[in-house]
């Protein structure tokens, strides 16, 4: 890891360690869940060059699966999270096999269409409780000993999940696999002509992205003790695009910053009601027009250091 990234990682760790002193921990946990979601999304588009417009299906599916497992089946939190993540991975495999051969906008459209089908399924399926969602999900005892009803235990767990996920993504990007993925993004035809089965590489990237997005959704369901339609709605798929672009597509830390900005805005602008969307839209337009690389992308470019 280059020095600039080591420093950024240290700053991020210190921030999430110290921030609960000044900011509501629930807000920070929400930010971390969305940050992980955005990082997972960024893995796919920023490093695999694939724009998915249906990533909410992984966030939401993992949320429902985790909530159902914890509440109805009485799974311990670690297994509920694992189960939710696995559900997202499975969905990733199925949708990936259907979508991965499509290029560019067609890939985006197929993922959107698949996500809409999933949404309507959850809207109808009885176990999701429709508009109400699965409420009062028990957080349970982690490993049988740590009571997650305790906010600090929950906070520590979320932080551990977030950093584990973040570091895994970092590793994927900087692995032999990540290197091939970059090559495919840079020049797919050439990668094929060198003998790479590019579809398989893309499928693995998609699968990893879906799984990690699922991990974020599963954790989020325990934090809020809720799984609802919001997380599978198409607007959630749009929001993660926004977070990633705002923070910096293809940067390591950008999605974290982007997620944080969006969540903060939603939190503090909540009284504006529907206007939040308008403000977000405006920010998006400004971002695209003025700093295309996103906040972290521009910063890295200015410092001439990878971030």
């Amino acid at each position: 890891m280059p020095r600039s990234q080591k420093i950024a990682l240290g700053v991020m760790f210190a921030f999430f360690l110290a921030a609960p002193l000044a900011v509501y921990p629930v807000f920070l946990m929400k930010a971390m869940c969305f940050a992980l979601f955005a990082c997972a999304f960024n893995l796919l588009i920023g490093f695999g060059g694939l724009l998915s417009f249906g990533h909410a299906m992984f966030l939401g599916t993992a949320g429902y699966a985790t909530a159902h497992a914890a509440k109805v089946w009485g799974f311990a939190p670690e297994f509920a999270i694992l189960f939710g993540t696995a559900a997202a991975a499975l969905l990733g495999l199925v949708t990936g096999l259907l979508a991965i051969r499509r290029q560019g906008i067609y890939f985006a459209m197929i993922t959107l269409a698949l996500a809409q089908m999933i949404y309507f399924y959850y809207l109808q399926a009885p176990f999701t409780y429709g508009e109400d969602g699965i409420q009062a999900v028990p957080r349970g005892m982690l490993f049988g000993v740590i009571d997650l009803a305790n906010i600090w235990a929950m906070y520590g767990t979320v932080m551990a999940v977030f950093f584990a996920g973040f570091l895994l993504i970092y590793r994927v990007i900087h692995s032999p696999f990540g290197q091939v993925l970059k090559a495919i993004r840079e020049n797919e035809q050439r990668a094929i002509s060198l003998g790479y089965d590019v579809t398989r590489y893309k499928l693995l990237a998609y699968l990893l992205s879906a799984t990690l997005a699922g991990l974020a959704g599963a954790t989020k369901a325990l934090v809020f003790q809720l799984a609802s339609l919001t997380d599978v709605h198409w607007s959630m798929s749009g929001e993660v695009v926004l977070m990633t672009l705002l923070g910096g597509l293809g940067t390591v830390f950008g999605p974290v910053v982007g997620a944080f900005i969006i969540i903060t805005m939603e939190n503090y602008l909540a009284q504006l009601g529907a206007w939040v969307t308008v403000v977000q839209g405006a920010i998006f337009v400004i971002c695209v027009l003025t700093f295309r690389r996103g906040v972290v992308g521009e910063l890295g470019n200015w410092l001439k250091k990878p971030l």
Binding site: V172, S175, E186, R190, A191, I192, S193, L194, G195
Partner: protein, 251 residues
Amino acid sequence: MSDDFILETRGLTKEFKGFVAVQNMSLKVQRGSIHALIGPNGAGKTTCFNLLTHFLEPTRGQILYNGREITGSNPANIARLGLVRSFQISAVFPHLSVLENVRIALQRKRGASFDFWRALRVLDGLNQQARELINAVGLAEYENTAAVELPYGRKRALEIATTLALDPEMMLLDEPTAGMAHQDVERISALIKKAAHNRTVLMVEHNLSVVEHLSDRITVLQRGEILAEGDYKSVSANPEVIQAYLGSGHG
């Protein structure tokens, strides 16, 4: 005697919506030779390469490589069989360094790279070999430069180094010297000559002095059909070939 031919096509045809780009082409490439494919613009040379490597699906016809039919094989498979192509428009990975570009090819020979949990460090073992290839094409001083920043001629050299990293049995080069300054042309043609030492090369080339200097055999294409075939002397004396070149100009 068919063993002498590493590549053979039989009645290869490609139609685009009724327009025939390659017509009934039967081509044989001798093992270990440098074979040039020439012809005016739009003759179907690039299309032919696309068919051979299955970047395009032939409408009709067969392709045999080492006596084995590869007509329906997919492009990545064909590359793994040892038939590796380059592109008319220089194909590098622009934001990877020169070293990384070559290493991507070496990495493929190491096996499938699905190991997403390993550190990049495991590829360091390939650096030495990558450097040798980079030196061989005169890019030593650019090792850490992003490919996008290289001048055009150097990009083509990098592309050849990357192709050579696969140690292909047969190379297809599409206009390797197009758009190059004089001294670059000489460097690249020397490179091709050296690379062809223990492999077969099929190349599309417009620079006739390069063709004359390098090729053992020449096939002239016109409007998708083979017009003439032979060594440089016989082909360049062929009135039909002269007519085709003067008639439509080349470039």
